[in-house]
């Protein structure tokens, strides 16, 4: 404690900026960690809240994926002896047409029976409804909304609301305001209840329900009721507690969650390097102080403890601050991801508040402190090993010792060999990841030696550019590799992360582009909603023939798709008119023959699957897929594997005839329209709109609009890549400012001499700027190389564990070219402060500086 007060505190006060930069490294790491995990948790909680609130006292839910099932199933469920209450539900999100409100979750329920499962706590309502729900039923335009929604939009009982339905925009009358603390929190308060039969009509359900909510009879356990229902209904139906939907949602989000976790771990590692750099420099600068302490009798243990305690203090302060920053950022991140999920996944959830987990915050703080201590361990150990005699002499202590250099190289070589062996045996998951870690470790171990090598290599170039300023800048790097290498390592790691994500994004974009060129080639698409991922609205089958009769239309292909749970994994079943599609879509299968695949599927003798389905479900050609349907178990062999991005978890393609036969459903989600050669596409499109708009609410999207929608979705998904760039830039700035503040202290006399012999202030600034830019260049070179390796492993990881998507290795050259000015710009910005500091202050003091 005494040493802390006598030595650490004065040092901290003298080098406050450096300490702030050290702490900033921890803040960055912990902040990203807390923000990402809190956002994730908040999204899950929002979804669970919506599910749970809407479920009320429901104990089990009967469903058949997103396809729904015929009304007749209700009677079968109600006839099961263990069932106490069984009520049907139709659920969908629709646009409100109210500015700023976005979508609203429609719950279609049977008012006569539903109130035994859900309590709406009507605050204000038509008096008649409270007493007799049949009054509500008698008015098919009736709607109940939450008090929150009403207050937000200045609505009251008997107000009118317009909703976008399959029949076009329809006006509804609010007949009740729900005050239930439960219901009102679902979907952020944007919830409306209506009669189920009205809902079936406006959502195009025909005579189908989405699910049946069940409560077991008094005295019957949930497990017994579940078993009885499964036995009565067969494998075509899922019978699960409401919470099971949360698990499915989690599976859908899994790849995104994992990516966020990796991102947060990277941020912590990068923070670790910044901390290591700071403490290593501090130990170097305080050598003589340490030497004096040792000469006066301080033990090695006391010296080491001193530095570790400093790291704990810095870690604690930085972690608490980082956690605060993370929580602040989490809501913004959660809302952004939430909107992407709603758009891309058609998943109804709305994040309006944060779910802060004290355990997670504590974990983040502990991780930050641990990172700080781990990062400071080696410098603290080195401090304890300082020889008092040598420490009190002047000398080159910034140079890496020969022994240290050799040790690192041997360790790097060992790691590289281990990674190479693992590469050969990469079918094994543990070996793949071991190889990944070993390879990255080899790169980091080599960073100091490579930094020195590149600094020496760049010296002649800098000398030629600016003989005085450039030479001194290069010499500063060459003479003090210890000072520079940790910053370069942090920058290298950060850029490797950027290349990994950027390369993944680039490859994915390329693959998506290819997929769109091959598979999404109709002239326009007819859809029931702007959100092409929405499957809750459908058209009747007749729409195909209606569109075909429009002048100029050559061919119409209708598609019905919906998500089902297959072996605990949510996958997309896509019913297509195979023969028609085969005539217009030509793509190279990953496995199987295109002709054979199309023929067998059209004949109903097989199905083809996406590559991600095959990887995630561990299936291959000729494996038999057993799909639960309302008519029983549909068994079809896999006759082809293709690259498809309709659903990232996996998709299966069956013929529409098979779908109609087994699901007893004639509806369609999307109509793909091809225009006759020579016809004006826009003119035909207008004719389709005119023909259909009086009968249906529809959107006719051009091929370009659909592509733009998909690309916009991708941009949102990969928005995280830009966050990585921000992290990389912050790392560059933090690390370089840290290094330069030390550099100008170390070079104080040298810079003073330069001024004394006639160097102008601008020339002094330039030597500092050049040093920063050189660090940026070295970081870019090494980061690009490590990034190229990281990209290989990233794509492998994605294929194995994050969605099963197979992507070609395409190095993102254009992206990296963009990073060059960004990183060099950041380096220059980082150098501005130190550059000014270098020219300020007393020249006399500088010349006398030791």
């Amino acid at each position: 404690m005494m040493l802390l007060c006598l030595l650490s505190w004065p040092y901290l006060r003298r080098h406050l900026l450096r300490w702030i930069l050290t702490v900033a490294g921890i803040v960055l790491g912990v902040g990203v960690f807390v923000a990402m995990h809190t956002a994730n948790r908040s999204i899950f909680r929002a979804f669970d809240t919506t599910i749970g609130r809407i479920a009320g006292t429901t104990q089990l839910q009967v469903s058949a994926g997103e396809f729904g099932f015929d009304e007749s199933i209700l009677e079968r469920v109600q006839s099961v002896p263990e069932v106490g209450v069984a009520v049907p539900v139709v659920e969908a999100t629709v646009d409100t047409n109210i500015p700023g409100q976005g979508s609203i979750l429609i719950l279609g329920i049977d008012m006569t029976g539903d109130r035994s499962l859900r309590d709406y706590e009507l605050k204000d309502a038509d008096e008649a409804i409270i007493d007799d729900p049949l009054v509500f039923l008698a008015q098919p335009d009736s709607l109940m909304v939450t008090t929150e929604f009403a207050e937000r939009n200045q609505l009251a009982v008997n107000s009118k609301v317009q909703l976008a339905t399959i029949e076009g925009n329809r006006e509804f009358t609010i007949r009740g305001l729900m005050n239930s603390a439960g219901m009102t929190r679902a979907f952020g308060g944007n919830l409306a209840v209506m009669d189920i039969y009205a809902a079936q009509q406006i959502l195009g359900r025909g005579r189908r329900f989405d699910r049946i909510d069940v409560r077991a009879k008094e005295g019957i356990t949930i497990d017994d009721c579940q078993a009885a229902l499964k036995a009565a209904l067969g494998p075509a139906f899922d019978v699960d507690p409401p919470s099971a939907r949360g698990r499915h949602f989690e599976a859908l989000l899994q790849s995104y969650s994992t990516a966020m976790m990796i991102s947060s771990l990277f941020a912590l590692m990068v923070g670790m390097f910044i901390i290591y750099n700071s403490f290593a420099i501090a130990v170097t600068h305080r050598r003589s102080e340490i030497g004096v302490l040792r000469a006066l009798g301080a033990t090695r243990h006391q010296i080491q403890t001193l530095f570790l305690v400093e790291s704990i203090i810095a870690g604690t302060f930085g972690s608490i601050l980082g956690a605060s920053v993370g929580i602040t950022a989490a809501l913004v991140i959660a809302q952004w991801i939430s909107s992407v999920l709603e758009t891309a996944g058609g998943v109804a959830q709305r994040v309006s508040e944060l779910e802060v987990d004290p355990t997670l915050i504590a974990a983040g703080v502990i991780a930050g402190i641990t990172t700080s201590v781990v990062a400071a361990w080696i410098p603290a150990r080195n401090a304890a090993r300082v020889d008092p005699v040598q420490a009190l002499q002047k000398g080159k202590y910034q140079v890496l010792s020969m022994g240290e250099n050799r040790r690192r190289r041997w360790m790097a070589l060992t790691a590289f060999l281990m990674a190479s062996v693992c590469l050969l045996l990469s079918d094994s998951k543990p070996l793949f990841y071991t190889g990944y870690v070993a390879m990255m470790g080899a790169g980091l171990l080599l960073a100091p030696a490579l930094t020195l090598f590149l600094s020496k290599g760049l010296r002649p170039v800098l000398r030629r550019l600016l003989p005085a300023e450039g030479t001194l800048a290069a010499d500063s790097l060459v003479e003090a590799p210890r000072r520079t290498s940790a910053t370069v390592s942090a920058l290298m790691l950060s850029l490797a992360m950027v290349v990994g994500f950027g390369g993944f994004a680039h490859s994915f974009y390329s693959s998506i582009q290819e997929w769109m060129d091959n598979a999404l080639n109709p002239d326009f698409f007819v859809a029931p909603s702007e959100n092409l991922a929405t499957r809750s609205l459908t058209f009747p089958a007749e729409i195909s023939s209606v569109i075909e009769r429009v002048d100029g239309v050559d061919q119409v292909q209708v598609v019905r798709d919906a998500r089902v749970t297959y072996h605990e994994v949510p996958v997309m079943v896509i019913a297509i008119e195979t023969e028609k599609v085969a005539s217009t879509v030509h793509r190279t299968p990953v496995a199987g023959s295109l002709e054979e695949m199309n023929r067998l599927t059209a004949e109903g003798k097989g199905l083809f699957v996406s590559e991600s389905f095959a990887t995630n479900l561990k299936t291959k050609m000729a494996d038999v897929v057993e799909l639960p349907t309302p008519s029983g178990l549909l068994k079809l062999p896999i006759v082809g594997i293709i690259r498809d991005y309709s659903d990232l978890r996996g998709s299966l393609f069956i013929d529409r005839s098979v779908y109609r036969d087994w699901w007893k459903d004639d509806t369609v989600n999307i109509a793909r329209v091809y225009v006759r050669k020579g016809q004006n596409v826009e003119a035909v499109r207008q004719r389709v709109i005119q023909t259909l708009s009086s009968r249906y609410r529809l959107l006719v999207l051009t091929n370009r609009e659909v592509r733009d929608w998909i690309m916009k979705l991708l941009d949102q998904w990969f928005g995280m890549t830009y966050n990585q760039i921000v992290v990389a830039v912050l790392v560059a700035v933090l690390g370089i400012v840290n290094t330069l503040t030390v550099s100008i202290t170390d070079r104080k006399r040298e810079l003073g001499v330069m001024q004394a012999v006639g160097g102008l202030r601008s020339q002094i600034r330039w030597t500092v700027w050049i040093e920063a830019l050189t660090i940026g260049v070295i970081g870019l070179i090494l980061g690009t190389c490590l990034g190229a390796v990281n990209l290989y492993y990233t794509l492998g990881m994605i294929k194995r564990d994050l969605g099963g998507i197979g992507l070609d290795y395409i190095f993102p050259s254009a992206f990296m070219m963009l990073m060059v000015p960004i990183i060099l710009g950041a380096a220059w910005i980082a150098a501005l402060g130190p550059g000014e500091a270098a020219v300020r202050g007393s020249l006399v003091e500088a010349l006398e500086y030791e």
């Binding site: 003989p467 030479t471 330069m754 004394a756 012999v757 006639g758 102008l760 202030r761 601008s762 020249l843």
Partner: protein
């Protein structure tokens, strides 16, 4: 050549310290002047002010008719660059540059052409009898050799004024004598105005004029 009028320098710190008080001094062109006095008398401060490394608290300093107090920091630097050569007690050579590069540094800062720089640097090192050590780094040289390199650097543009702050303070007696002889020879050869700060009376005896400082004031001004 050098003219100081009512120059004072007070250092602001926890306590104010008066380093120089009301100094009036005129030094003619081509003279070799020693500035002597005990430790803390203000000798180095006086030299730093004349050399434009620091600014006086009050008073004026003129170098070749140019008033330093009216100049900006870059203006001071230009005066230092073009008119003044500095020789420091601890040499202040840059350790990563060899002899030729150290001598060439001021010329690079002036953006001279490369060939001209090499020629001038080589010429200067020959002048101080170190033409055979061009590629050597400072830590490969003896103290005397380092000071010779520092002198060569100070002469890079043959400045009219040379300021030497205890040039032999860090050298043994014999080497110190050699350096003083070199400075003498250069003075005779080049006709520069030379100011030497020293506490060594032997050094002072070599100069045509000795200015004695005590407690920040000129107490004696002897001409030999």
């Amino acid at each position: 050549m050098v003219s100081l009028t009512h120059v004072s320098k007070i250092f602001d710190g926890k306590r104010k310290a008066t380093a120089l008080e009301d100094i009036d001094l005129d030094i003619d062109k081509g003279h070799m002047v020693s500035i002597v006095g005990p430790s803390g008398s203000g000798k180095s401060t006086l030299l730093n002010l004349i050399g434009g490394l620091d600014r006086p608290t009050s008073g004026d300093i003129q170098i070749d008719g140019e008033n330093l107090s009216e100049l900006s920091d870059d203006g001071l630097t230009r005066v230092r660059r073009d008119k003044i050569g500095f020789i420091f007690q601890f040499f202040n050579l840059l350790p990563t540059l060899n002899c030729l590069e150290n001598v060439a540094l001021p010329l690079h800062l002036r953006k001279w052409p490369r060939r001209k720089i090499e020629d001038r640097a080589g010429e200067l090192l020959n002048l101080v009898q170190l033409g055979h050590r061009l590629e050597h780094l400072p830590d490969e040289l003896s103290g005397g050799e380092r000071q010779r390199v520092a002198i060569a650097r100070a002469l890079s543009v043959y400045p009219p004024i040379l300021l030497a702050d205890e040039p032999t303070g860090n050298l043994d007696t014999k080497t110190g004598q050699e350096i003083l002889k070199l400075i003498d020879d250069l003075h005779a050869q080049l006709g520069s105005t030379i100011l030497i700060v020293t506490h060594d009376s032997e050094v002072a005896e070599r100069c045509s004029r000795t200015v004695v400082l005590r407690d920040g004031r000129i107490v004696e001004d002897r001409r030999q």
